[in-house]
């Protein structure tokens, strides 16, 4: 019997082994859980993007325009001319493989087409075939292949399995940024109306009502007023946010996720308390806008033009209100847009002042052109100058680690300020291992518009490297709170933690700041902003902290 069982065929009749074909010959199968639903025609139409229609990625017929190939070729030609980076990235990859295993989607899903080098190759193969003599002569041997419907579908599947996080680019000796290739890939797909709904509808909402969630101005105000009551209940202090106030010192813009999605809402209350504190103590007037009610910009995940269009309203509002400069909330991709594109895209905003913190006198040199300052940098500056009364022991129930969001980390080198703030408002802080943080940080797995619900398998697998590092500090140090400065993170990390490390909850930094902030006139706090009891000074965080119920955990 043992003899017979030795044969592989008899061992099992089920095919347990993967195909051994090269990537070009491995067909792409579009699987549930790994893709986001197609964009609703109305959203595509609102944005004046072409070919709005009902279509389904799972159907054979994607209802493409007849001349779709010409449209793609023309789109490629145009972009090869306009964007030098695209042309260079197409030409210079030596396939050294340094980037291959650096992508969280490859690490988590195990799918080789998620290796950055292969992701780029999806489009490079067509470039070689149709835009280079080398490819024309050597064909498949030279890594070239013709553009077919299957190739187009493969583009769509894998360019929406890249979160444009840029981790791979950190390791490429030539500085090839696969995120930029994905950006171009998605632009090309948009020429055929092939967007996903989780991007197209928020963008269209933002265009129509000012924010991704499509919340109208009165509901925006309604939410913040509700927070005013909540804050009063918890602190005994009634804050008084102003809206669209002309002549205020500073305009504050944050992602709408903070206003409408838990646990970002607690961070939002944090901002409100901080602004109240600064007004009471130093007379600083910060105003909110119901017009520029979105800091995020999913236009970045659509096309340059759409991104520019959405971004312009921040400046328009700053100009209308006559503020000195703009303060930006805890967001991820919003800062990529601001730091990398805004200065030249809609700027320079000469009508605004070069940002100076009126309380400390600090000049924010890095924001000279954009006139927009990150709130964590602003708060770090206040703490550094001793302008905030803080009692970090109020966060003693927490053992905190920090997730560097890809965009502030790799898009603007923002590493130390968040840690500085956390360490000043919390007594227990532990970093994750070095190759998982700062410029090497792992993406949450849901960035660049992939934070829909239907692609949960993709998100959970892509978020594995991040969750794995959190699990390590949880097991080693008892970390129970994951802090982050991104609204998408605050929305997507709770389910990610729920699946991989259920002991760990998620927070924004300004929630931690205002937990520790001693507000003039406050009552003795018994609960925090979440309505949870505040720990006794002596209590042990390991015993104290009970994670809130989260169904699905």
């Amino acid at each position: 019997m043992s003899e017979r069982l030795k044969s592989d065929e008899d061992f099992s009749k089920i095919d347990l082994n993967p195909s051994k074909t090269g990537w070009m010959d491995t067909p792409t199968v579009i699987k549930d859980g790994m893709f986001c639903f197609a964009a609703k025609p109305q959203s595509v139409k609102t944005l004046d993007l072409p070919y709005s229609r009902e279509w389904n990625p799972k159907h054979d017929d994607w209802k493409l325009p007849e001349n779709w190939k010409e449209i793609i070729y023309e789109g490629m030609r145009d972009r090869l001319d306009r964007f030098r980076t695209f042309k260079i990235f197409m030409d210079i990859c030596v396939r050294c493989g340094a980037c291959a295993d650096k992508c969280h989607f490859f690490i988590g899903t195990g799918d080789p087409k998620n290796m950055p080098v292969l992701r780029a190759e999806l489009i490079r193969s067509v470039y070689k075939n149709d835009f280079t003599t080398f490819g024309k002569i050597f064909g498949k041997l030279g890594g070239a292949r013709p553009l077919t419907l299957d190739v187009l579908k493969e583009w769509w599947y894998y360019f929406f399995q890249c979160s444009e996080c840029r981790r791979c680019s950190v390791f490429c000796p030539y500085g090839i940024d696969t995120a930029e290739i994905t950006i171009i890939g998605r632009e090309l797909l948009n020429l055929l109306g092939l967007n996903i709904d989780w991007i197209a509808t928020p963008v269209s909402n933002c265009y129509m009502t000012g924010n991704h969630m499509g919340i109208q101005p009165h509901a925006f105000v309604g939410m913040l007023e509700f927070f005013v009551d909540d804050i009063e209940e918890c602190t005994g202090v009634r804050v008084n946010p102003t809206f669209n106030k002309k002549g205020a010192d500073i305009l504050f813009v944050t992602p709408s996720g903070d206003v409408f999605g838990d646990p970002g809402t607690y961070t939002c209350m944090g901002y409100m308390i901080l602004f109240h504190y600064l007004k009471e103590k130093y007379g600083l007037e910060v105003t909110w806008s119901t017009y520029a009610s979105e800091g995020g910009n999913f236009g970045l995940f659509t096309s340059n033009e759409v991104m520019k269009r959405l971004n312009s309203k921040m400046y328009a509002e700053a100009k209308r209100l006559g503020v000195k400069w703009i303060l930006g909330g805890e967001c991820g991709h919003m800062w990529r847009v601001i730091n990398q594109y805004m200065g030249t895209m809609n700027g320079p905003a000469d009508f605004l002042e070069e940002p100076v913190n009126p309380i400390t006198g600090t000049k924010f040199e890095n924001a000279k052109s954009t006139k927009m300052v990150h709130i964590v940098e602003f708060t770090a500056d206040l703490i550094k100058h001793g302008k905030l009364d803080l009692d970090p022991s109020r966060n003693d129930n927490l053992k905190v680690t920090f997730h560097d969001s890809c965009n502030p980390a790799r898009g603007m080198g923002f590493f130390e300020e968040p840690r500085y703030v956390i360490k000043n408002v919390c007594n227990n802080y532990y970093d994750m291992p070095r190759n998982c943080i700062k410029e090497q940080t792992f993406c949450c797995g849901s960035g660049s518009g992939l934070n829909a619900s239907e692609d949960m398998e993709l998100r959970l697998a892509g978020g594995l490297p991040r969750a794995n590092a959190v699990k390590y500090v949880n097991e080693k140090h008892g970390v129970n709170m994951l802090a982050c400065i991104c609204a998408i993170d605050r929305a997507v990390l709770p389910p990610l933690m729920g699946y991989w490390v259920p002991e760990v909850d998620v927070t924004g930094i300004h929630e931690l700041v205002t937990n520790a902030l001693i507000i003039p006139g406050e009552k003795e706090k018994t609960v925090n902003l979440r309505g949870e009891d505040i720990p006794d000074k002596e209590s042990d965080p390991d015993e104290y902290y009970v994670r809130p119920a989260f169904s699905g955990r």
Binding site: S12, K31, G108, P112, N435, M456, S551, G552
Partner: protein, 176 residues
């Protein structure tokens, strides 16, 4: 030498073979990476598999405590349950590869009828572990679906509801 002693003696070779068989369920580029990269943070999948197989093997060999076994295989299945490139059978069948790993490593010894018979009994234990794996796989999948169903409701509407901005219709959809 009886089977148990033999398995104990050849343990590291068997586990290495088992590990290779498990990672070879992934496409070539992936399995090479899973074998090569030793940093557990750069390679959580490979690290999780290699960390679990040894204690799992010991547990099957000795106490065969169901809870302990579930605790060892949960991390591996948890990963494979969200890796869409694997079918459910591919995701869970790695348990049975232990049979192959043992037979490959005990070719000569299995000529002994007693040892061969003992192995058949031992293999029944592996089958039992396979069933535990199946339970965990289904549990993980159910969890994924629950997370999926609650995801948008929780984050987008939880705050609205607390604020009293939505009252009707949400009640019956919370906490699926």
């Amino acid at each position: 030498m009886n089977l148990k002693d033999l398995l104990e003696k050849r343990k590291s070779a068997i586990i290495k073979c088992w590990f290779d068989l498990v990672v070879e369920t992934y496409p070539l580029d992936t399995s090479q990476f899973l074998k090569k990269q030793k940093d557990p943070f750069a390679n959580p999948v490979g690290a999780t598999i290699s960390q679990a197989l040894k204690p799992l093997f010991d547990e099957i060999l000795n106490r065969m405590d169901h809870e302990a076994i579930a605790a060892y295989i949960d991390p591996i299945i948890r990963i494979r349950a969200v890796q869409s490139i694997l079918s459910p059978s591919q995701a869970t069948s790695f348990i049975f590869f232990l049979k192959k790993a043992i037979r490959e490593n005990l070719r000569k010894e299995l000529k002994d009828i007693e040892i061969s018979n003992d192995l058949l009994v031992f293999e029944l234990k592996i089958d039992e572990v396979g069933l535990i794996a199946f339970d965990i796989f289904v549990k993980c999948r159910e969890q994924v679906y629950t997370i999926k169903a609650n995801d948008r409701l929780n984050r987008a509407f939880g705050a609205f509801k607390r604020a009293g901005l939505v009252t009707e219709t949400m009640d019956d959809t919370q906490g699926l």
